[in-house]
């Protein structure tokens, strides 16, 4: 039985009036949302940090979340925090509590002509230009990474092929990793972050999409069964930027991605897609944030997940915030889960916050469907053998995301990976 809940936008005034003398921006936004933001590793970062509920914006607002580059600003995790309540902290292998001194997964980049790839130290001016940690693990990674990889697509450059970033782990010591991806004005490129091997790693990926640039970032998680990966992938989108983000999480014991798209100039578009396939015992979590802070931007979110086996757990939380000044916003977010066996669990929480009535559209949908014996009976009663029937259902369901990748070799590889996941369930 497939259950679909769909809700149209609540249109209305902000949920709480602002206190005189404070604007939303002045007190609550991280520097990356203000137009005059500088690289904020130092003083500004500290200033930027704010606690929700302090001033003007209610505790529950996504805008009020604490952001800081300093680990010490985040209290140790208890598991009671709103954004950690689904995560089994015990399985984080110290990413939230330990100094991350392990060797980071090896980075090996194959890039077409014209792309600039650099390895830089912590003091590089570009670090902090697009992101600021929003949780303790991300801040821990920020404090502990030793060098960062910066990938730059030069102004007006059209990359002739995708930029393949192989990220290969080789151990279970907790480590930190940092990437900065910059698509300069009017450039066009596809970046693939190909996470493989064995790792316990907290990662920050900063993504800057400048005016009129078109950037696709694909993050693949095909880790070994014992790996743990937490990744904050924050994108800052300038005027008329087009950004597409695709997450594919298949392997790993615990994978927790927090992609975000923040609009900093009008006319920009963000598409956030995701596919996850949770097997027995796996915890695959994704928490998204789309921040409509300026007028006339568009966002579309679609995450689809399949779950099978005992204690397979998928979490999807989609926060979309339409701020008061974001008139003309058009946004839609959806999460669909397909539960293939008993004992698996999918948590799906769409959150749509709207602070202006002057929008083009806003909606969300969340559906968790079970593939059950009656579905199987129906397909088999049409002559389709059981194995084929199961494949038909899962392949069809997930293909909607895979087909968004548009890199044929990668689509093929992922289709095969999904087939392997399916085959594993048949043993």
């Amino acid at each position: 039985m497939t259950e679909i809940t769909e809700e149209k936008a609540r249109i209305g005034a902000p949920s709480q009036p602002f206190i005189n003398g404070f604007t939303e921006e002045g007190e609550n936004l991280s520097p990356i949302n203000t137009s005059e933001s500088k690289a904020p590793l130092a003083g500004e970062a500290v200033k930027a940090h704010s606690h929700g509920g302090g001033v003007g914006i209610p505790d529950s607002s996504r805008a009020g979340r604490l952001t800081s580059y300093k680990l010490a600003d985040f209290a140790p995790l208890t598991g009671m925090e709103e954004d950690w309540r689904f995560t089994p902290l015990k399985r984080l292998r110290g990413l939230h509590s330990d100094v991350l001194k392990g060797t980071a997964p090896a980075v090996d980049i194959t890039a077409p002509e014209g792309i600039i790839v650099e390895t830089v130290g912590r003091d590089d001016a570009r670090i902090g230009s697009a992101a600021i940690p929003e949780d303790r693990v991300s801040a821990n990674a920020w404090e502990n990474f030793s060098e960062a990889t910066v990938i730059t697509v030069p102004e007006e450059h059209q990359a002739t092929g995708e930029i393949m970033v192989s990220i290969e782990g080789s151990g279970l010591e907790a480590s930190a990793q940092h990437f900065v991806i910059i698509a300069k004005r009017f450039s066009k490129a596809v970046v693939v972050l190909d996470h493989r091997g064995t790792a316990v790693v907290a990662e920050n990926v900063e993504i800057l999409v400048e005016d009129g640039a078109q950037l696709t970032v694909i993050s693949l998680q095909e880790w070994t069964d014992d790996s743990v990966h937490a990744s904050s992938q924050q994108a800052k989108l300038s005027r008329d930027a087009k950004f597409k983000h695709i997450v594919v999480s298949l392997g790993g014991d615990l994978v927790r991605l927090t992609p975000s798209a923040r609009f900093s100039g009008p006319g920009a578009e963000a598409e956030l897609f995701g596919l996850y396939y949770a097997d027995a015992g796996q915890h695959l979590e994704q928490r998204l944030f789309v921040d409509h802070a300026v007028p006339n931007c568009k966002s579309n979110v679609l995450y689809k997940g399949a779950l099978q086996g005992r204690n397979a757990h998928a979490v999807w939380v989609g926060d979309v915030l339409i701020r008061k000044e974001a008139e003309g916003t058009d946004t839609y977010e959806a999460n669909r889960n397909l539960v293939l066996t008993d004992g698996a669990r999918a948590d799906s929480v769409p959150n749509l916050e709207i602070e202006t009535g002057l929008i083009a559209g806003a909606g969300h949908a969340s559906a968790t469907g079970r593939f059950d014996d009656e579905h199987l009976f129906y397909l088999m009663a049409r002559g389709i053998p059981e194995k084929v029937a199961r494949r038909l259902v899962v392949r069809g369901f997930l293909n909607e995301i895979i087909s968004q990748i548009k890199v044929p070799a990668l689509e093929e590889r992922l289709t095969e990976a999904v087939e392997r996941e399916l085959a594993a369930s048949e043993n």
């Binding site: 039985m1 497939t2 397909l338 469907g369 593939f371 014996d373 009656e374 579905h375 009976f377 129906y378 397909l379 088999m380 009663a381 049409r382 002559g383 389709i384 053998p385 059981e386 084929v388 038909l392 259902v393 899962v394 069809g396 369901f397 997930l398």
Partner: protein, 262 residues
């Protein structure tokens, strides 16, 4: 010429209160070209009979047999039965998430025929069959039965009947929930399939109105898990006038448990 033979079939299901016998000795023979109507009140076991023929795992056959041209149907898995030529148009077709109608129809046709249909003619056949059943062309893009109205689901069942060309079609209350127009459209579809001359039909219904459009050769009255009366099309007219009350237990009508229609 094929024969589907059901002999002294007893079927039970497991309920929370224990095993419950639903079919209590059903015998029936259907041959290619024949249309049999099974009529009976709600809860008499009609769907149980249909689902048992198709092989739904919930139903346990405790005794009796089902054979198709002498082959033991009860030994076959659900998909094998379909490939052998049995088709069940379900009373409540389920929605199957994730699978588009296009993909589903082609996969099923390939499984049933043992080879993939020629793409060009297949697409044309599907389109034509849909048009005749007045199913919107965009249904092929949607997931199997997902969001279809009750009437749309029934049309899509008959669409499959026409495309898969089974040896025997079992239609479980395909008429219920249809308005007059839809009933006509659906009946025409069944008649088209039947008129090709290679199919026998078991038409299960609660009401007689579908029998105005699909003419049965035999009518079987089904009450409490058994066939209690049978005859030709005229029996349906009598049921129309008199209802099932006369067959109710203790109603005094002496009806011998009917023998198979041999």
């Amino acid at each position: 010429m094929s024969t589907l033979e059901i002999k002294d079939l007893h079927v039970s299901i497991d309920t929370e209160q224990g095993t419950k016998e639903i079919l209590k000795g059903v015998s029936l023979i259907i041959r290619t070209g024949e249309t049999h109507a099974i009529m009976g009140p709600n809860g008499s076991g009609k769907s149980t009979l249909a689902s048992t023929i198709a092989g739904h795992p919930r139903y346990n056959v405790t005794s009796g047999s089902i054979t198709l041209d002498g082959e033991n149907v009860l030994d076959m898995s659900v998909d094998e039965r379909a490939r052998a030529g049995l088709f069940l148009a379900m009373q409540y077709p389920v929605e199957v998430p994730g699978v588009s109608m296009t993909n589903f129809l082609r996969t099923a046709k390939t499984a049933i025929d043992g080879e993939a249909p020629k793409l060009r003619t297949w697409t044309k056949d599907v389109k034509a069959a849909m048009a005749q059943l007045r199913i919107d062309a965009d249904f092929t893009q949607r997931n199997v039965n997902e969001g279809f109205s009750g009437g749309e689901k029934k049309r899509v069942e008959i669409l499959q009947l026409e495309l898969f060309k089974p040896k025997f079609a079992i239609l479980d209350e395909t008429d219920s929930g249809l308005d007059v127009d839809a009933l006509k459209v659906v009946s025409e579809g069944v008649n088209r399939a039947h008129d090709e001359g290679n199919m026998g039909t078991l038409l299960i219904t609660h009401y007689t109105r579908i029998l105005r459009y699909i003419k049965p050769d035999f009518v079987h009255v089904f009450v409490e898990g058994k066939i209690v009366d049978q005859g030709g099309a005229e029996l349906a007219d009598r049921l129309e006038d008199e209802g099932y009350d006369r067959y109710a237990p203790g109603a005094g009508v002496a009806v011998a448990p009917a023998a198979a229609a041999e």
